[in-house]
Symmetry: C2
């Protein structure tokens, strides 16, 4: 199936917003086995919109369109397509009833302009919008299926997940199922990972193997086509096993779970608590962990000890350690982790000290980072890293290293409990 | 001038990367007064690439193209355009010499595939790539100017800024200058800001007035066309004055300076230091501040006191305050700010305590946040906020509020010194 995606909105052409929908829909289509050949963006202009829709209809079996379903006069997507295909728009009573109920809840009546949002193509498939007033709608004409979806991400994504995706699957030949698994890697660059599984990527068929680099991590997505989920798993199994044999040491998880979520989940599962002492990461690790809902049950607190005075005064790192080895040293990392654990009365503590740049410090090079990890009943360990990139890149990589070390520690804990 | 933008790369159509270049180039073009009517993305496929380029040539005066200038066989942009326009490609000796010098520095010779990157259109304008091996090139044919630029952002953006932008300006009629000013607002939503200056937006001419919402802030961009910078400033002045009369109280700065950069700059200018005590923001404020290079000269440190034990034990908030008023209270915020200032020995300290959600705490509603601010020689103040949004939104808004309060404090300091 030959598909393309059109994003509608003058704000895209002014560069006021970045079109992330087309990438999202493309990923979803890739998983479904739908080939996307073009993306286009066009403004809220009736003639140009019709021109793009005409072109899309001439070259694609499936046209996914986002935006331009709002209540204002500028919102023209549905009207332009109706004109182009000469299809009547008819009221969709359930959508209108939903809209009226929604406005009634705010104590107002539906503004007249909004009623046009309740119009759909006669004979089309309507997708309910649970997060807004504009329903989505699909219509097939001249061998092309057009799918219109609202532009706001909070409306588009749930609608796609819940309604449009099953609809697209129903268009696919046969009763194929598409199943994917995502594996998350840390500590190995994308090119190195690709190098090690090059043959699997080059000779891929079913399942497909797609690496993707994202914020100092790499994910690998396996996607299988099969008659059912069990068969899909069987198809993926040998490839998964081969991948893990080669790069499994860098794999920390599966699915959408991030490193910080994994750490919080393991801490909560094991009923253990964490304290943090951060220097060059400036609170980033604490910040990442506390973004996770429920983290307050696991993270006791953190100290950002940006200066040696704070390392000594607040954390209680012995002055001798800093004077002798410097604040950026294995010894300082060890002392910071131990003192953070005492200070917060936590089961574990992690510390980071290093040089994030842009300038060297204590005659130590930018990118030199030490991570300490203290745990009740175990000797405190520290790790030395040499990280590349700019200041923010070094901070992010150092934070992710610390989280990776933590989750490895907690994996051991899991094995013991 | 009628323009459009084409992004080339199969990874875009697979959704592996989001096309941010088209938005970037669109913003730049909007400032230059070039109207962009279309964005397109197409894969590394010779025929489809030629088809898109043919279409673009038929409808636009200017076609900006990113990507597909790499050394591999998949990189086809230049070749496709050369075939379409039937234009010869010729070696560009300075680009080839740069490439050879670059590889020599790594102790290797130029891989044969890379030499094609040194080919350009005969009679075209070449843009030097200081951050990679692929030069950019512009060529005019049949009334359309095609500009080819490399895809990696670290190559595209500097090339655009330094070379392509002046080239585009040279294409514009007359000797018009385009000048813009960006004003940054906090504490007012985009729709409220728009509402208050609606007439200025609706009746805009020269200068143009463009509001843009971004991460709990709003910016307003004024853009004037004039013969020179002075005239542009004169054209903008009455509109700027009218805007500031209406919403100036929410304006914290101009240009690209963020709230955290502003706070750090003011602290460094005034040679003052800061300590932080964060509860519901989980280290976010410390994190934002320490992202700024040079922040180590101003931020002494921070404590993330996620639990009442840490508030008492580490920060030294009196147990009575927490028992009587709760950890989320005006009194706790005041005590946290004062104790943070003592602990870090800083000139100022800021504290945050609140309920970020998803669940209420201490019978207090999600979104209730207190911010404390302690300063040497002044009474400690605390502020009560009711913030909307999800957990991350509340954390971000609370952090920005704290930074906004801090920069207001420091503005006073500026007036006094």
């Amino acid at each position: 199936m030959r598909g393309e995606i059109i994003a509608v909105g003058t704000e895209l052409l002014l560069g006021q917003i970045v079109d992330t929908h087309s990438a999202y829909l493309s990923r979803e289509c890739a998983e479904l086995g739908i080939n996307i050949y073009y993306h286009s963006a066009v403004g809220d202009n009736r003639e140009r919109l019709k021109e793009i829709l005409r072109l899309a209809g001439s070259r694609s079996d499936l046209v996914l369109i986002t935006g331009g379903l709002g209540p204002t006069e500028d919102d023209l997507t549905k009207e332009a397509l109706a004109e182009l295909l000469n299809l009547p728009l008819v009221p969709h009573p359930p959508s209108i009833a939903r809209m009226e109920a929604l406005f009634a809840r705010f104590g107002t009546s539906v503004p007249p302009g909004n009623y046009k949002q309740g119009l759909v193509f006669e004979g089309g498939t309507v997708f309910e919008n649970r997060n807004g007033t504009a329903p989505g709608v699909a219509v097939t004409h001249g061998g092309t299926t057009y799918v219109l979806m609202p532009g706001p991400p909070g409306e588009l994504i749930p609608m796609f997940e819940e309604e449009v995706k099953p609809f697209l699957i129903s268009l696919l030949p046969g009763d194929e199922r598409i199943v994917s698994r995502v594996y998350r890697f840390f500590g190995i660059g994308e090119s190195h990972l690709e190098e090690r599984i090059k043959d699997l990527i080059q000779n891929q068929g079913n399942p497909t193997v797609a690496p993707l680099a994202k914020e100092a991590e790499v994910t690998l997505r396996l996607t299988a086509k099969a008659r059912d989920a069990d068969e899909a798993e069987r198809i993926m199994e040998p490839v998964r096993r081969e991948i893990m044999k080669r790069v499994g040491g860098f794999c920390y998880g599966e699915g959408e779970l991030s490193l910080e979520e994994l750490v919080i989940r393991r801490l909560l599962d094991q009923k253990r608590t964490l304290g943090l002492a951060e220097s060059c990461t400036g609170g980033l690790i604490t910040r990442m962990l506390t973004t996770v809902p429920g983290s307050s049950g696991a993270v006791k607190g953190g100290v950002v000890s940006y200066t040696s005075d704070v390392k000594k005064g607040v954390l209680g790192v012995p002055a001798g350690v800093i004077e002798r080895y410097g604040a950026v040293s294995m010894e300082a990392a060890l002392a910071m982790a131990e003192r953070a654990r005492e200070l917060f009365g936590s089961d574990l503590a992690v510390s980071v000290t290093g040089v994030a740049g842009p300038d060297p410090a204590e005659d130590k090079p930018v990118g030199l980072v030490y991570i300490g990890c203290a745990e009740e009943g175990y000797p405190t360990r520290a790790y030395r890293l040499r990280l590349g990139g700019n200041r923010q890149g070094i901070q992010l990589r150092a934070a992710k290293h610390a989280l990776f070390i933590l989750q490895e520690r907690l994996k051991k804990g899991e094995a013991q409990t």
